[in-house]
C-alpha cells in the first residue's frame, strides 16, 4: 500500500511504472517509438540526395527537399536544384552520387556529403555502375544490402521508408478508429435506450459489410493515397473497440461515483469524458497495440493485392508481391517479411506488457 505521505500516484501512473519494469515490453516500446520518431529524419541516413554540398562557392542542402515544408522555407538552399547549375549537361535532378564522384577526382574544392546509405527508395538504379550489366532484381551485395527490386530500386531503402509508412499508417488508423469507436461506444453505453438499440444494430450491419470489396471498389474509383486508406480502414475497424467501451460505460455509469457526479450537477459531457472515460481506459489501452498489428497487416495485405498505396510509394506488401512474380528472388520475400515480423513482434511485446501492467493482480498464479 502507498503510504499517505508519499507522492500520490494515479492508477495510470502506477500502471506506467509497472509497465516500465516489464523489460521486454519497455525496450520494445522504446525501440518502436524512437525508431518511428527517427524515421522522420530518414533522408539524412538513407537517400539519394546530398545532405550538404558545395559547388563553386555555393552551399546547398538538397536533402531539405525530402522534408515537408523544406523547399518552401528554404527555397534558395533546399528547393528544386537544376542539374545544369551543378556542372551537368542535362536539365533535371542532380545525381549527387555522380556529382560526388566527379568532384572527388576533379579536386576543385567542391564536395558533397551524402547519407551513409546513398540510395533513395523510389530511385531506379538501373544505370548504376555495379548494376548496369545485369537485369533487375539484383541479389544482395555490399552496396545494396537487401538487393534491388524488379525496377532496380534499392530494397533496403524501400524497407526502411516502408517502415515509416507502415507505422504512420497503423498509428493513424488506430487513432482514428479508436476515436470513432470510443465515442460511439461511450454514447451507446451512456445514453442507452434508443440510441444504444439502433446504434448497436447499425454497428452490426456495418460490421457485416465486406471490407476488402469496399476497398477494391474505392480503389477502382479513386487512386488511394495514405489519408484515404487510413480513413477507409478506420471506418471499417472501429466496431471492435466500440463493443468494449460500450460495455465499460454500461458498467461504470451505474457506479456510485457517477451518481455523486450527477448529484453535484456536472454536465453529461463532463460525466462521460471526465468521470467515466478515465475509468474505461483499460480495454482501450490494452487492445491498441493489437489493433496496430492488425492495421499494419491490413496495409501489407492491401499492398500485396495491389489495392494499397499508389505505385512508387515504398511498401512491404508490394515487395512481397514482387517476390511472388519473381519466385526465385528470395530477397524480395525474405527481407520485407522479416521486417514485418520483427515490427509486429515488437508491437505484440508492447501489448503483452501493457496487458500485464493493467493486470490488477500483482502476482499471476500461472507462473
Amino acid at each position: 500500500m502507498t503510504r499517505s505521505d508519499e507522492a500520490p500516484l494515479s492508477i495510470l501512473q502506477r500502471r506506467w511504472r509497472k509497465f516500465k519494469t516489464l523489460k521486454r515490453g519497455w525496450y520494445s516500446f522504446n525501440l518502436l517509438v524512437w525508431s518511428f520518431v527517427l524515421s522522420f529524419f530518414l533522408p539524412l541516413a538513407v537517400g539519394e540526395k546530398a545532405i550538404v554540398a558545395r559547388y563553386e562557392g555555393r552551399l546547398v542542402f538538397p536533402v531539405l527537399a525530402d522534408f515537408p515544408l523544406g523547399p518552401t522555407l528554404f527555397p534558395a538552399h533546399g528547393g528544386y536544384l537544376d542539374a545544369r547549375e551543378f556542372g551537368f549537361e542535362n536539365r533535371g535532378l542532380v545525381d549527387w552520387r555522380a556529382f560526388q564522384e566527379r568532384e572527388f577526382f576533379a579536386q576543385r574544392g567542391n564536395w558533397a556529403l551524402l547519407p551513409p546509405h546513398p540510395y533513395g527508395p523510389i530511385e531506379s538504379l538501373l544505370d548504376d555502375a555495379g548494376l548496369r550489366d545485369s537485369r533487375p532484381p539484383h541479389a544482395p551485395s555490399a552496396q545494396h544490402w537487401c538487393g534491388t527490386d524488379d525496377r532496380g530500386r534499392d530494397v533496403f531503402a524501400r524497407l526502411v521508408y516502408g517502415y515509416r509508412t507502415s507505422m504512420l499508417f497503423g498509428l493513424s488508423v488506430v487513432l482514428l478508429s479508436y476515436t470513432i469507436g470510443t465515442a460511439f461506444g461511450a454514447l451507446s453505453g451512456f445514453l442507452g435506450r434508443r440510441f444504444d438499440l439502433f446504434g448497436q444494430r447499425f454497428v452490426e450491419i456495418w460490421s457485416s459489410l465486406p471490407f476488402l470489396y469496399t476497398v477494391i471498389i474505392v480503389a477502382s474509383i479513386v487512386r488511394p493515397n495514405l489519408l484515404l486508406l487510413v480513413v477507409v480502414l478506420a471506418l471499417f475497424s472501429w466496431m471492435g473497440i466500440n463493443y468494449y467501451v460500450r460495455g465499460e460505460f454500461l458498467r461504470e455509469k451505474s457506479r456510485d461515483y457517477v451518481a455523486a457526479a450527477i448529484s453535484i450537477g456536472e454536465s453529461r459531457r463532463a460525466i462521460m469524458f471526465r468521470e467515466i472515460l478515465p475509468n474505461a481506459l483499460t480495454p482501450i489501452v490494452s487492445y491498441a497495440p493489437f489493433a496496430l498489428v492488425g492495421a499494419i497487416s491490413s496495409l501489407v495485405s492491401l499492398d500485396f493485392l495491389g489495392f494499397g498505396l499508389r505505385a512508387p510509394t515504398p511498401s512491404w506488401g508490394e515487395l512481397v508481391n514482387q517476390g511472388l512474380s519473381n519466385i526465385y528472388e528470395w530477397h524480395l520475400v525474405a527481407f520485407p517479411l522479416a521486417a514485418l515480423f520483427v515490427t509486429l513482434l515488437l508491437v505484440v511485446f508492447v501489448g503483452e506488457a501493457v496487458r500485464e501492467a493493467f493486470d490488477p493482480k500483482p502476482y499471476s498464479r500461472l507462473r
Binding site: S4, I11, L12, Y257, A259, A260, A261, G265, R274, P278
Partner: protein
C-alpha cells in the same frame, strides 16, 4: 430546531416513483408528502425496501430512468417544482442548492481523480471559479470536515483514504457550494460505530455553522435518529406511516410499525430474553397490500377494517400524524401492543 413560522425550503407533495420489473410496475414511493423547514434535521426511517432512499433520490431526480420513473407529485424547492424543470435547470440546483451524501463512501468517489479536483469540480461547475480558486475553497472545506493537512492531500486519490475519511470528503463535496438542503442517504451505514459518531457530530457541527441548512437524514438506525433529528418520518411499504417531532415520537410512538421498530432495539436490561421482532417479512414490492393498511399483514393488532380499507394520515397530537385506524380512533396502541406481545410469548 423547527421553524414553523418560516416557509418550508422543500415541500414534497404526493410524490410517486415506480420501477419497471418485468412488465409490471413496482411503486416504490406512493404518495409521499412532507415539508422541510430551514435549519431542521428530518429523519426518514424505515426498513430496507420501504422507499426511503428512492424518496431521497427522487428529490434530485437521480432515480435511474429506465427502469425508474417519477410518475407524479411535486418537489418544490423554494417555490420551484424541481420535477417540472428541464435537465440543465435541474443541474443548477444539484450540488449548488441541494447537496447529497451517499451511503457508500468507498465507491462514491471517482477512483482515478484526485480528491481535490473532485471537490473543486462542484465549485467550478456552479460558480465558474477558476481551478486555483476552486481548489482554495476545497482546502477550506476539507479542513472544515476534519481532513488533516488538507492542502497536501488535494492530490491524493480516494484509495489513499480510509472509509471515514472518504465520507468526510463526500461531505465536503456536498457542502462546498453551501447548499440550503443536504440530503444524506444512510451516510453512516457503511462505517464503524466510532466513525459513525464522528460523522454525525460533523453534520451537526456543519449545521451549527450554517444554521439555515436543512438536512434530510435517511437511515434505518433509530439511535442515529434519536441523536440527530428534530423531526422523524417513518416509512413502510412505500408510504409515510408516522410523522412526528423526534421527542414526541420517542416518547409516544403510535403506529404499530413504529412500536415494532422500537421494540426490536436490543435492550441490555433484557439480556437473555429473546429479542422482540416484527413478525413476518416486508412484503415484496409487487405484492404490497392494496386497499388495505400496508402493515396489516404483520400487525398483531390488525382488525377487519385494516384489511378492507386503507387508513389516512391523521394528526393525533400536535404535529404528530399517524396512518393507522386504531391510532386515529385515539386507542392506546402502545399498551395494546404490549399486551398482545405478552400473550404471544409463553
Amino acid at each position: 430546531m423547527p421553524h414553523d413560522e418560516k416557509p418550508p425550503v422543500l415541500r414534497v407533495r404526493d410524490l410517486v416513483t415506480s420501477f419497471a420489473i418485468g412488465d409490471r410496475r413496482a411503486v416504490a414511493v406512493d404518495g409521499v408528502s412532507f415539508d422541510l423547514y430551514p435549519g431542521e434535521t428530518l429523519g426518514i426511517v424505515g426498513e430496507s425496501g420501504s422507499g426511503k432512499s428512492v424518496t431521497a433520490l427522487s428529490i434530485l431526480r437521480l432515480v435511474p430512468n429506465p427502469p425508474g420513473s417519477i410518475d407524479g407529485g411535486s418537489v418544490e424547492f423554494e417555490g420551484i417544482d424541481l420535477l417540472a424543470l428541464s435537465y440543465p435547470q435541474v443541474r443548477k440546483v444539484r450540488g449548488a442548492r441541494i447537496g447529497m451524501i451517499f451511503q457508500e463512501p468507498m465507491s462514491s468517489l471517482n477512483p482515478v481523480l484526485p480528491i481535490g479536483r473532485q471537490v473543486a469540480e462542484a465549485v467550478e461547475v456552479h460558480e465558474g471559479l477558476p481551478r486555483a480558486l476552486a481548489l482554495e475553497r476545497a482546502v477550506e472545506f476539507l479542513t472544515a470536515v476534519g481532513i488533516p493537512d488538507a492542502r497536501k492531500r488535494l492530490d491524493h486519490y480516494p484509495h489513499q483514504f480510509s472509509g471515514g475519511m472518504r465520507q468526510r470528503v463526500m461531505i465536503a463535496l456536498a457542502l462546498v457550494c453551501r447548499p440550503k438542503v443536504l440530503i444524506a442517504d444512510e451516510p453512516t451505514t457503511a462505517l464503524d460505530v466510532t466513525i459513525q459518531a464522528q460523522i454525525l457530530d460533523l453534520l451537526g457541527e456543519m449545521q451549527r455553522q450554517r444554521p439555515e441548512t436543512a438536512i434530510v437524514l435517511i437511515t434505518h438506525d433509530l439511535a442515529v435518529v434519536a441523536e440527530t433529528c428534530d423531526r422523524v418520518l417513518v416509512m413502510y411499504g412505500a408510504k409515510v406511516q408516522e410523522v412526528a417531532p423526534a421527542e414526541s415520537l420517542f416518547a409516544a410512538p403510535r403506529h404499530p410499525y413504529t412500536l415494532g421498530l422500537f421494540g426490536s432495539i436490543p435492550d441490555p436490561a433484557r439480556k437473555g430474553q429473546p429479542l422482540a421482532t416484527i413478525p413476518g417479512n416486508v412484503p415484496h414490492i409487487l405484492d404490497l397490500p392494496r386497499g388495505a393498511c400496508r402493515f396489516h399483514t404483520r400487525c398483531v393488532l390488525a382488525e377487519e377494517r385494516c384489511r378492507t380499507s386503507e387508513p389516512e394520515l391523521v394528526e393525533v397530537a400536535p404535529r404528530h400524524s399517524v396512518r393507522c385506524h386504531l391510532a386515529a380512533d385515539g386507542r392506546d396502541t402502545r399498551a395494546e401492543m404490549a399486551r398482545a406481545n405478552a400473550e404471544a410469548r409463553p
